[in-house]
């Protein structure tokens, strides 16, 4: 029985996809903890999780470089699925139907919906902004190269990009909790036929019409 059920699933993420995703996610959590600790006094206690203030300051930029590298790999693997198409704009216009679970009213979409695609580009922009501004405010190695005006601007830009990034990830995590089956997709790599057909009809059609080992 369980074997039969397993056969009735579609692979959505390969083991490599999943590993790069979760490595990026773990580094993001560490960065959010250490970054928020240095952003707001009310959250400074989070610095204890990384071994105190000095350790938080030391580790944050190195983990940042790691996250950027990991995310770059994700971009390389997924960018071609994330280009906006006309149907995505229609989907976005019906965001009210999306939020109220009236999925039957929505146009059929491909492997990713407009929300996921826009998230992809938002994250990409934030990551680039964070990398560049982060290098400028990396006091131990790079800040001495830059004039004070650039450093001040970078501190503000870094906080702004981080705010957008963290808020986007909160939405990303919530969407995964909300749309049942999504977490399984990223944890075990597979989704059910029903999940694929309901949420990503064009992708489903593509999969079932091309006979291969993916099913």
């Amino acid at each position: 029985m369980s074997n039969e059920k397993e056969n009735l699933q579609i692979e959505r993420y390969t083991p490599n996809d999943r590993s790069f995703h979760w490595a990026t996610a773990i580094s993001f959590i560490l960065l959010a903890i250490s970054g928020l600790a240095m952003f707001h006094p009310a959250l400074f206690w989070l610095s204890n999780l990384l071994g105190g203030g000095q350790w938080t300051r030391i580790l944050h930029p190195f983990i940042g470089l790691l996250m950027f590298g990991l995310f770059a790999i994700l971009v390389f693997r997924f960018w071609h699925h994330n280009l906006m198409e006309p149907v995505d704009w229609q989907w976005l216009k019906q965001i009210d139907d999306v939020l109220n679970n009236r999925e039957e009213k929505l146009p059929h979409i491909g492997r990713y919906n407009a929300g996921q695609k826009l998230l992809f580009f938002t994250l990409l922009g934030c990551m680039i902004g964070l990398l560049l501004s982060g290098l400028v405010i990396w006091r131990a190695y790079f800040s001495w190269i830059f004039p004070i005006g650039i450093i001040r601007f970078s501190a503000l830009l870094h906080a702004f990009c981080a705010f957008i990034l963290i808020t986007s990830i909160i939405v990303h995590i919530y969407a995964a909790i909300w749309v049942k089956g999504s977490i399984g997709a990223m944890v075990r790599g597979k989704v059910s036929f029903g999940w694929a057909r309901k949420h990503h009809r064009l992708w489903f059609d593509e999969i079932v019409k091309t006979p291969n080992e993916k099913q």
């Binding site: 009735l8 928020l36 600790a37 240095m38 952003f39 707001h40 006094p41 009310a42 959250l43 400074f44 610095s47 203030g53 000095q54 938080t56 300051r57 030391i58 939020l99 109220n100 679970n101 999925e103 405010i137 006091r139 131990a140 800040s143 004070i148 005006g149 450093i151 001040r152 601007f153 501190a155 503000l156 906080a159 702004f160 705010f163 963290i166 808020t167 909160i170 939405v171 919530y174 909790i177 909300w178 749309v179 049942k180 089956g181 059910s192 036929f193 029903g194 999940w195 694929a196 057909r197 309901k198 489903f204 079932v208 019409k209 006979p211 099913q215």
Partner: protein, 305 residues
């Protein structure tokens, strides 16, 4: 810190009021540096090294009298020598003792993310508590006077303490004690302003029409003040800022952005929670599952034919 002879008025990265029952009745203190009386002997630099047990590296001669070339974690004050040709074609040698200005509204303290790494005492002195410093360098971005220096060795920020340890026991700062011409004086801010006013009258009578006190309002006034012969143009004195203020970028970053960003992130999570409890999860029904499998099988068979 316990209540003691130097009580704390403001702590970095702290959102509640520090103990504030005790206030200095005579008001805050100030150091007044009369640039017009300075002979550039650097006794103050030496006294600072001696009192604070600081020894900077012996540098090289770069063709100026500035030695060391810049402030560092080991040089909390440096004499800056500027050669100025005045409109009459005469040379003026403007010598300014550079160091922390002890702002009433300190940009370093505003920018600091580590609770209690920077304190402002009720007497106006701004002090770094290096044991709490995390070495991020935000104080450097916050300072309008380019004063804090981060040690490469221990990654902590250092600057002039206005000899808070001496002031706490009723003594004047070491630089004040050592000055041979009386160019540096120390007392309550009120007294120092009065003393400066007398000096300015004297300077004006000697032809320095633009003589004045440097106590910039942009940072709420400072607890280190200068008497300048050219108060109309402080930047003549090795780039002393004409109108110093905390950069608006620091103001936004450390002001509105902090509560707004944290509240927005919390709101995003809360909105998610309420969406879940009102609308509920988006699930695939068994019927939808069956339809999908049937469709997949139909399509498979179509391929086989």
């Amino acid at each position: 810190m316990s209540l003691q002879s130097l009580d704390i008025k403001r702590l970095s990265a702290t959102t509640v009021e520090p103990p504030s029952a005790r206030e200095p009745i005579t008001g805050t203190v100030a150091k007044l540096i009369d640039v017009t009386k300075c002979i550039g002997c650097k006794a103050c630099q030496t006294a600072c090294m001696e009192w604070n047990d600081l020894r900077d590296e012996v540098g090289e001669n770069h063709g100026t009298y500035d030695n060391p070339r810049d402030m560092s974690e080991h040089s909390w004050t440096v004499m800056r020598f500027s050669e100025y040709e005045n409109p009459n074609g005469n040379l003026e040698w403007l010598i300014r003792k550079d160091g922390c200005m002890h702002c009433e509204d300190p940009g370093c303290l505003k920018a600091c993310p580590s609770p209690g790494a920077i304190v402002q005492y009720t007497n106006g002195i701004v002090d770094f508590h290096e044991e709490n410093c995390i070495g991020c360098g935000y104080c450097v971005s916050g300072c309008p006077f380019d004063v804090p220096r981060i040690s490469k060795k221990d990654n902590r920020a250092y600057k002039c303490t206005l000899c808070s340890d001496r002031v706490a026991v009723g003594q004047e700062p070491a630089c004040v004690k050592s000055c041979p011409t009386g160019a540096i004086v120390f007392g309550t801010k009120e007294d120092m302003k009065q003393h400066a006013a007398e000096r300015i009258i004297d300077l004006k009578s000697r032809g320095f029409d633009q003589a004045g006190l440097y106590d910039p309002a942009g940072v709420g006034g400072t607890h280190v003040m200068y008497v300048l012969h050219h108060a109309d143009n402080p930047s003549l004195y090795h780039g002393l800022p004409n109108k110093p203020r905390i950069s608006p970028m620091i103001g936004v970053w450390k002001g509105l952005a902090k509560p707004l960003a944290v509240a927005s992130m919390a709101a995003a999570a809360l909105i998610g929670f309420f969406h879940y409890t009102r609308i509920g999860p988006n699930e695939v029904s068994e019927e939808e599952e069956r339809e999908a499998i049937e469709e997949a099988q139909a399509s498979k068979e179509a391929h086989h034919e």
